[in-house]
């Protein structure tokens, strides 16, 4: 038997490398190879309509024509704009509602376990099914109009899904319904993690609800809030299932998000090489943005670690934002 400690470490490293293999293979399979393929196809005019295999795509080489086109494609930019608008409206609403719910639960409610489970349910519903649910709800002869009609008779003629603006509102409502529970879940966990001793001390010293929330709880919830907002913003930007089932992008293109537009290009117009070009651009932009943000987040995390060491007891410090 050779030196125990050396062979232990080596043995562990060998096992580790073996354990990494499946994932690395899958990553190469799903990242490296498709990326090259996408790069290749995006510089051609190839579509499946050509009848040839993608390998023959070089026959219709066009360099950067697809990329030039995507810069001036008004349908694409309209879809992007609609998606941005959707995200910028829906995400803050669900954030604030989730925050409100979280504070309610933290203050205390009767029947907490039951209410907690019920309130979480919408986010566990299959998004496509949720889309169908709201397709039903927003029907002209549907329950929403029936409910509204009890105090506003003209509501029975209200058309949601065939009206350009109301359809947009409808999908926002659907998204808020489905994902407020997620915001609530995360923010509640964050709120519960705020150290109680400081809150108690503040309460004893006479600080009111708003002060305690704003100066003690909120700063300690920064990480959770950022994670919650980032997660939901990314997912909301990608939205497809719910919209596809609920409105199919309609009426017209009123609710056509970026994903829906890409879907239309892929299956209706069969412009696969163009979609490949758009996809690559999106990948590059998102990677750059993500990289920047992760960098800033890492720096901020380091800064917080340094600051934490310098904290003095609450009573000795004047309140700071």
């Amino acid at each position: 038997m050779s030196e125990p400690t050396l062979s232990l470490a080596d043995e562990r490293l060998t096992l580790a490398n073996r354990f990494l293999l499946p994932t690395q293979l899958l990553l190469v399979f799903i990242v490296a190879f498709p990326l090259l393929m996408q790069l290749y196809v995006s510089m051609t005019w190839w579509t499946p309509l050509d009848g040839e295999s993608w390998i023959q795509a070089w026959r219709s080489w066009n360099w950067f024509d697809n990329f030039r086109y995507l810069a001036v494609d008004s349908d694409l930019w309209a879809a992007i704009w609609r998606t941005v608008l959707f995200v910028v409206i829906a995400v803050p609403i669900q954030f604030l509602l989730g925050l409100f719910l979280a504070t309610m639960f933290v203050e205390g409610v009767r029947g907490r376990p039951v209410l907690y489970s019920i309130v979480l349910m919408p986010m566990m519903v299959v998004p496509a099914v949720a889309g169908y649910i709201f397709f039903l709800v927003f029907q002209q002869q549907g329950p929403l109009n029936a409910l509204l009609a009890t105090f506003w008779p003209e509501a029975s003629n209200l058309n949601w899904l065939s009206d350009v603006d109301r359809a947009f509102v409808a999908v926002i409502i659907a998204d808020v319904w489905q994902w407020t529970p997620l915001m609530f879940l995360l923010l509640y966990a964050g709120l519960m993690a705020v150290p109680e001793d400081q809150l108690r001390a503040a309460r004893i010293l006479g600080a009111g609800w708003w002060h305690r929330f704003r100066y003690i709880a909120l700063p300690r919830m920064k990480t959770v809030m950022i994670i919650a907002l980032a997660l939901r913003t990314i997912e909301c930007f990608k939205i497809f299932d719910m919209l596809y089932v609920m409105t199919g992008g309609g009426p017209g293109v009123a609710t056509e998000s970026l994903s829906l537009y890409l879907y239309k290009l892929t299956f209706q117009d069969l412009e696969w090489s163009y979609v490949a070009a758009i996809g690559l651009t999106v990948l590059v932009v998102l990677s750059a943005v993500a990289g920047l943000l992760i960098n800033r987040a890492a720096k901020a995390a380091n800064r917080d670690v340094v600051d934490a060491g310098a904290r003095t007891p609450l009573a000795a410090r004047p309140a700071e934002a």
């Binding site: 990494l20 498709p34 349910m121 299959v126 966990a189 309460r203 497809f240 299932d241 892929t266």
Partner: protein, 299 residues
């Protein structure tokens, strides 16, 4: 009196507590009602006969006037007594497909992800794996699906159970990796070292010491990933046709030659599709914060 109030609760003065509690409970109950109502609308629709959901019947009532299992019979057998045209394919295959591909996909993600997480957590080998996996989740699926569709078609994996399971496994791999890595990070290295000094190989130490300890975490992760796979729509829409389509895609495409909306049948399917994730989700609710933040936060 304070049993329902968390110590960190921000409200102080005791004499406000009773009415404050009532107000808060009412507010939350309102949210709970809003959460339940749309769901129950679809649930009750599943039991309504066609006469109650055709356009001519005016505003439908909440509860079915003549509750029936007819919609469920219809989607399972394709035949209906209510003069709707028969279906060309029943819901049986989609249900089998969803079950099979979600389970297999979960297994793939779990095995590959747990192994890789162990490797990175313990030996810091291949640390770029984690970031690559994270990037997978940031990209809109359609930005990357064209090459995947081409590849799958090229390799003959379109509309197959193994092709779908494989892509499900890959797409949920980031979750199992980051979740299990967080758990492995919490375990001291000495655990395996103690066993290895006694003569175990590294793999035996992993299998007989580490794994049993993280088994509950693996279980929760598995259920979480299963929910994700089961809820998928886009991937199944792109990579399956008729043979292995999953429940959500099948549900949305449900139509007969006569047109008409088939609200009842689709609602029945929606109910079947929605129930497993809701039940599983509630059973792992303690795990959800961790699962949804890739292990970054705990609750």
């Amino acid at each position: 009196m304070s049993s329902t109030t968390h110590p960190a609760a921000l409200v102080g003065r005791r004499r406000w507590l009773p009415s404050g509690l009532l107000l808060r409970t009412v507010a939350v109950a309102l949210f709970a009602a809003i959460a339940l109502l749309p769901l129950s609308w679809m649930a009750t629709m599943a039991f309504k006969p066609p006469s109650e959901w055709s356009p001519s019947s005016g505003f439908p009532s909440f509860l079915p006037k003549n509750p029936t299992w007819g919609n469920f019979r219809y989607i399972f057998t394709g035949e209906s007594e209510d003069s709707i045209v028969s279906l060309s394919s029943t819901a049986v295959m989609p249900i089998i497909s969803s079950l099979l591909t979600s389970t297999l996909g979960t297994l793939i993600a779990l095995i590959a992800g747990t192994a890789a997480a162990y490797a990175v957590a313990r030996e810091k080998a291949g640390s770029s794996v984690g970031l690559s996996l994270l990037q997978l989740r940031i990209f809109p699926p359609l930005a990357v699906m064209i090459p995947v569709m081409i590849m799958w078609s090229f390799l003959g994996m379109t509309d197959t159970w193994w092709g779908l399971s494989l892509i499900y496994g890959i797409v949920t791999l980031p979750f199992s990796f980051w979740l299990m890595k967080a758990y492995f990070d919490e375990l001291p290295r000495e655990i395996e070292e103690a066993a290895m000094v006694e003569g175990c190989t590294a793999f035996e130490a992993f299998r007989q010491i580490t794994l049993p300890i993280v088994a509950p975490a693996v279980a929760s992760t598995a259920l979480f990933i299963f929910i994700l796979n089961w809820s998928d729509y886009l991937i199944a829409l792109l990579l399956t046709r008729k043979d292995w389509t999953t429940i959500p895609v099948y549900m949305n495409s449900l139509a007969t030659a006569m047109g008409g909306q088939l609200y009842g049948a689709k609602s029945a399917l929606g109910l079947i599709a929605a129930i497993p994730p809701v039940i599983l989700g509630i059973s792992i609710q303690r795990f959800l914060v961790r699962g949804l933040t890739f292990g970054a936060l705990k609750q």
